[in-house]
Amino acid sequence: MTMHLEVEQAHPLPLSGAFQCEPGELLALVGPSGAGKTSMLRVLAGLVRPHCGRVQVGDEVWCDTAAGIFVPPQQRHVGLVFQNYALMPHLSALDNVGLPLLHLPTAERQRQARRWLDQVRLSEAQQNRRPAGLSGGEQQRVAVARALAREPRVLLLDEPFSAVDQMNRQGLYRLLADLRRDMAIPIVLVTHDLHEAAMLADRLVVMDAGQVLQQGPPAAIHRAPRNARVADLVGIQNRFQGRWLGPCGQSGWGLLQWSAEATTAAPAGDVPPPPRLRVRDKGRIETGQSVHWVLTGDAVTLVDRPAQAGGEFAAVVTEARPLGDITLLALALQAVPGVVLRLTLSGPQRLRIEVGAALTVCLDLGLAHVMPVRGR
């Protein structure tokens, strides 16, 4: 049963946007703190009644402000795993998981609760303990078991990785993978950790300041962020300013000037004119308009010969920071003063590169993505 959410309100919290999640799909809500991700989750759970919005799961309409419908959380079948787990401190793990099962007689309730706890791999001894006697990772698994015991139509997880160490994190990944496979329900996960989101989720919803900015598969967002803000939020480092010069004769391609200055300005002194790049034209941008454009990491490579074809530039290494298995490089391009190109290198080649080294950078301009300034 597909889950749909639409919200549009200005107060008490500004919240605006819509997305949906298919059964068996894992959707990640990403964005900085305060972006409104948890608020969206709470609207889905029914803990917050939006000023104007709609929540529907399959055939059930859980909230429709226009029609005056609001189903309280008790009657929605949601599983919500809170960021701090929200386990009842005075009840054992078993009794905590038994809370959604109070409609069953005691024996049956305990049996089912044990079953859920076994599924999240909690031992019998642990099941009988109170939350204070369990580690953080174990507590989280109890919280997940409790959410699942509800037999939810939607599973919601609020920042599940934030308080978890690496070892338990792996266990959580496996658990999520199993859930996706075994339960055909939409799973919505809130996180500010982009890498994990990109790794686990089928689709991302990027939020900032209460607004949904863009949604789609992680790779698609990386390749084609809607605007500069989204590019920053998903961690694209090579974002530059430019000016769109219009089609360049070859269908589907156009010319991008690598600088924001107007083309009519005469070059001053020995400052080289900004390079013109041949990039894909998606037909959305007016000629002469200021733009942002991005290059994903894959588009930048280093080559050992002097710059030749279009797309190759002479560069000098200005920063080289070794960090474990990788080295973070910053490069300055002679052709475009003031611009910094960032690159993450791994492998043996990085060991040879030092600050001040002269290199040639090769940019795969077919992967360049152009975004209008102040556009959505």
Binding site: H77, A86, L91, L99, A132, A149
Partner: protein
């Protein structure tokens, strides 16, 4: 030892607690869970008897409920009920005077319950009664117990209001605190001493037990 006065005090404390407990639970919980414009005014009114001299309360009760007041006359004529100088009047005064002792600890107890726990209960499908019984009450219980003991002990020791509204009538309004005062005036210091000791031991014992119980309940978490 004025056993009659002791029994009267115990009765007054018991009846006051019986009346105040549901009221205190409802008001304390409501204040803990809701915010609204003017909440500060309600909270100030709750605290007022703590900072008000008992004589002020006694005065206002006499003037508003006494035989010469409109309310007093109406109650006497229609309900055949007198509101001052009898046990009923003491109960009214005691209930008003003990509001902060029951409401404040209860309010703190409910405030201390993390909001996420009641939300987790809601999301797990629990309606208001199961949430109250299985989540709120067990977690708030030490605070509620403390409120009950405080109210009981405080009522046992009430003096100023009882004196003004009660009139020190033996068997009706002469509580043990008043009896001690009376014995001192009668130069019967031995009796006063015995009763004072009893009250001290009772109060100290009750409060100590209450702290003990709260600590044990908290340790079980």
């Amino acid at each position: 030892m004025d056993w009659q006065a002791l029994v009267l005090s115990l009765q007054l404390a018991g009846v006051t607690l019986l009346v105040l407990l549901p009221l205190g639970l409802w008001l304390g919980r409501w204040l803990a869970y809701t915010t609204f414009a003017g909440k500060a005014v309600i909270e100030a009114l709750v605290v007022l008897p703590l900072v008000l001299p008992p004589t002020v309360l006694g005065y206002y009760l006499l003037v508003s409920m006494g035989g010469a007041s409109p309310l007093g006359r109406w109650a006497a004529e229609t309900l055949d009920l007198r509101l001052t100088f009898n046990f009923t009047g003491l109960v009214v005064a005691s209930v008003i005077f003990n509001v902060p002792f029951i409401v404040q600890p209860v309010q703190r107890a409910f405030e201390a319950i993390p909001r996420q726990l009641t939300e987790a209960a809601a999301v797990s499908g629990l309606g208001w009664w199961p949430t109250w019984r299985r989540v709120e009450l067990p977690l708030a219980w030490p605070g509620i117990l403390s409120a009950m003991v405080l109210t009981f002990v405080h009522t046992m020791g009430e003096f100023g209001v009882v004196l003004m509204v009660g009139g020190s009538i033996p068997g009706e309004t002469k509580t043990i605190a008043i009896s001690i005062y009376d014995r001192v005036q009668a130069f019967d210091l031995a009796a006063a001493d015995r009763m004072a000791w009893l009250l001290l031991v009772l109060s100290l014992g009750a409060v100590t037990m209450s702290f003990f119980a709260s600590a044990r309940l908290a340790a079980r978490r």
